[in-house]
């Protein structure tokens, strides 16, 4: 008889919280409880990501559901002594709403979670990802059992009925894709899970893999049964060591218990899953490049058709879906496609996980129904912009997407509305920018990324992105000309039209969308030699005003010896020597140094 534990302490062991110190908290908590003789009374569980990574390490105490943030190993004793022994909540570690600063003890009352609808992430942070039993306890593998009792065609029909579309960015209807692979001629077929998450600021797939690995396996096995495949590959970047470790563990457990391998659940269906670790090239997120990489060749795309559904891995029909897409499948099978289709908008069903980063209070992961507005995501869930700054734009869809300005904040988010607005769903990365962000510099940042990651196979992408980046560098350095804007636009169109794969076809998007919504910033750089946000150092200068008392602090701190002046007399900055580091301004006790 297992002894009843009256309380469970859930400690986030996701990558975010681990790097902020949860690895020290877990042994500390276990040790302190043991010292009190309470190791059986209170169970410590290491979970996956809760999404509110900004405030980690996160600790949740059940049954009360008290949510503690930024917990350090040195706080553990107080939590044990006060909360776990005496039932007194440790007030100073509670979450505070960014807007009101009011403490919120109860997990379910936190605004960040209230507006979310967790479907793919339902178990993340709530179960021990290394326990098959806990996954089964949340109805895990019931979707598979149900699928195996149906005909493969019926499984595909159910997925079609759900309206699920590819969550990796393309948004292609998942059921239709499965149908293509099912219909393809061949006795050997493959299922591939694309876990090569590469957009800057995107970490939704990592969190699902780390927090609920069995869900992804279950989705893949169901897919294998539906399309007639007996082997699957997960292509996961090696920079996700924890995700890979959890996947390996989950595959081992599934094999041991007969949920993977031969004669799954007595159905006669066989399926095996392998992991292929990728080296982190962005282009390997493109399906044909990914397949080349699994085969041991250099990760480069090839023209389509033939599509992988007909000729994929080792020339065999292959169905490739993203992690989040597979993570939605088990619940669709269990609850039926109609339930999933009842969420979201006319063309985009269900929920989508977004990674919130940049100038936003609640950095983290949020899963929301399709059709929610960007304003709700950024202000209600994300808690708004820090330090009282003004919102400027949000980049959606990573380096392949575009930015949306303030006037589009009330746009209902789905695949189509974002494309119409010049952005795209992408994998769901949201980078929020405030008034101190220069939009030319942002476009340059993303283009620098895609230029760096271009595989070099086709000329428009290899040469074109390089030339566009040179123009952007020129504009940011104050050397832009009137011809640069039309030149950027025409090159962007050529690169979009002429590139071999989606990397090149979408690389100019950040430039086009910033030109569309923030053209005046480009013009200010070129015509007025000004960077309105004060970011591009070529246009920035520091001057000392009449408020100077001649204390000499700025002179001492200047690393370029650019400041001169007598004690108690006004100092001056030599603009030729100044490297625009801003050290003088932050040091001046009289606020007598201006940036402009």
């Amino acid at each position: 008889m297992e002894k009843l534990a009256r309380a469970h302490v859930l400690i986030c062991g996701g990558t975010g919280c681990s790097s902020s110190g949860s690895k020290e908290i877990i042994p500390e908590m276990r040790g302190k409880l043991k010292a009190k003789g309470m190791e059986d009374e209170i169970k410590v569980v290491e979970t996956g990501c809760h999404g509110l990574c900004e405030l980690g390490p996160l600790v949740i105490v059940y049954p009360e559901g008290v949510f503690y943030i930024r917990v350090k190993a040195s706080d553990v004793e107080e939590i044990v002594e006060n909360h776990l022994i005496k039932g007194r909540v440790v007030d100073r570690l509670l979450y505070r709403e960014p807007a009101t600063h009011a403490t919120v003890p109860d997990y379910d009352d936190i605004a960040f979670y209230k507006k979310q609808q967790r479907y793919a992430l339902v178990n993340c942070g709530h179960i021990n990802p290394e326990s098959l039993e806990e996954y089964i306890g949340t109805d895990g593998y019931e979707g598979l059992a149900k699928a195996l009792s149906m005909k493969p065609e019926e499984v595909i029909e159910e997925v079609k009925k759900s309206g699920l579309r590819g969550r990796g960015g393309g948004g292609f209807p998942t059921g239709t894709k499965w149908q293509f692979t099912r219909n393809a001629v061949g006795s050997k077929k493959y299922v591939i899970c694309n876990a090569d998450e590469g957009d800057p600021g995107a970490f939704m797939d990592r969190s699902v893999l780390e927090g609920d690995p069995h869900r992804v396996l279950e989705g893949m096995i169901i897919c294998g049964y539906a399309v007639g495949a007996d082997e699957g590959y997960i292509y996961c970047r090696a920079e996700y060591p924890l995700a890979i470790k959890r996947l390996r563990g989950a595959i081992g457990q599934a094999l041991e218990s007969g949920l993977l391998g031969e004669n799954i659940l007595g159905s006669g269906f066989n399926f095996m899953i392998h992991i292929k670790e990728g080296a982190g090239a962005f282009v390997c997120g493109e399906e044909t490049a990914l397949i080349a990489s699994i085969e041991g060749r250099r990760g480069m795309p090839r023209p389509r058709p033939p599509f992988p559904a007909n000729s994929g891995l080792w020339g065999k029909p292959s169905n490739i879906n993203n992690v989040e897409t597979f993570a939605n499948v088990p619940s669709i099978m269990r609850d039926g496609g109609d339930y999933f289709a009842s969420q979201g908008t006319e063309t985009s069903k269900g929920t989508k996980v977004f990674a919130l980063t940049g100038k936003i209070n609640n950095t983290g992961l949020a899963e929301v129904p399709m059709g929610i507005t960007m304003r709700e995501i950024i202000y209600d869930i994300g808690g708004g912009i820090p330090n009282g700054k003004k919102f400027k734009a949000v980049q959606i869809g990573g380096p392949s997407g575009g930015c949306l300005p303030e006037q589009l904040l009330d746009l209902a988010v789905d695949y189509e509305s974002l494309i119409r607005a010049g952005a795209m769903m992408g994998s769901g990365g949201l980078v929020v920018m405030d008034e101190t962000t220069c939009m030319v510099d942002v476009a340059r940042y993303f283009l620098n990324f895609t230029q760096d990651e271009s595989c070099g196979k086709c000329t428009p992408c290899r040469e074109g992105t390089k030339r566009m980046l040179e123009i952007l560098n020129r504009i940011c350095e104050g050397k832009g000309t009137e011809e640069d804007i039309p030149l950027l636009e025409s090159m962007a169109q050529s690169i979009k039209a002429g590139s071999l794969c989606a990397l090149g076809q979408t690389a100019p998007n950040p430039v086009l969308s910033t030109l569309n919504f923030f053209r005046h910033e480009y013009e200010a750089h070129i015509r007025d030699h000004k960077c309105p946000a004060g970011v591009c150092t070529a246009f920035v200068g520091y001057t000392i005003t009449e408020g100077c008392r001649g204390c000499g602090l700025c002179k001492k701190v200047c690393p370029a010896d650019a400041i001169s002046g007598e004690v108690k007399a006004k100092h001056i900055i030599d603009p030729d020597k100044c490297i625009k580091c801003g050290a003088c301004q932050s040091k001046c006790p009289f606020k007598a140094i201006e940036k402009g």
Binding site: R6, Y62, A145, G266
Partner: protein
């Protein structure tokens, strides 16, 4: 463990639901006073006895919680039983030996153990 069919899966599910039941706040609760007064009077031993008895009797979907001093220090250890739709009953001077009766009679079957009751809210 080998899972051969849906039935095996359901058995594991039931077991997992029990082992994770502490992660759901139940409307049926046992609340032990854990102020300094309660602990001094032996509330920790009473808590241990409650968990032992619940494990032994297979009682689940009940939240076992603590609260602080409510001002009746001379009657500690205090144990409250909350059942949905019924008045909250406080037992006083509870000893570990009293626990099996409180659990099996009141918590499970709804019959108040009258000798130990100090308050009803």
């Amino acid at each position: 463990m080998t899972i051969k069919n849906l039935e095996d899966l359901r058995k594991i599910k039931e077991r997992a639901k029990l082992s994770t039941s502490a992660r759901r706040k139940s409307e049926t609760q046992v609340i032990v006073g854990m102020g300094t007064c309660g602990i001094a009077a032996g509330a920790r031993d009473v808590m241990a006895a409650i968990l032992d008895e619940m494990s032994r009797a297979g009682v689940h979907d009940v939240s076992v919680m603590q609260d602080g001093c409510i001002g009746m220090c001379q009657k500690e250890p205090l144990v409250d039983i909350v059942r949905p739709g019924e008045p909250r009953v406080t037992y006083g001077n509870v000893k570990p030996a009293d626990v099996p009766a409180i659990i099996s009679e009141h918590l499970v079957n709804g019959r108040i153990v009258s000798g130990l009751v100090v308050a009803k809210v």
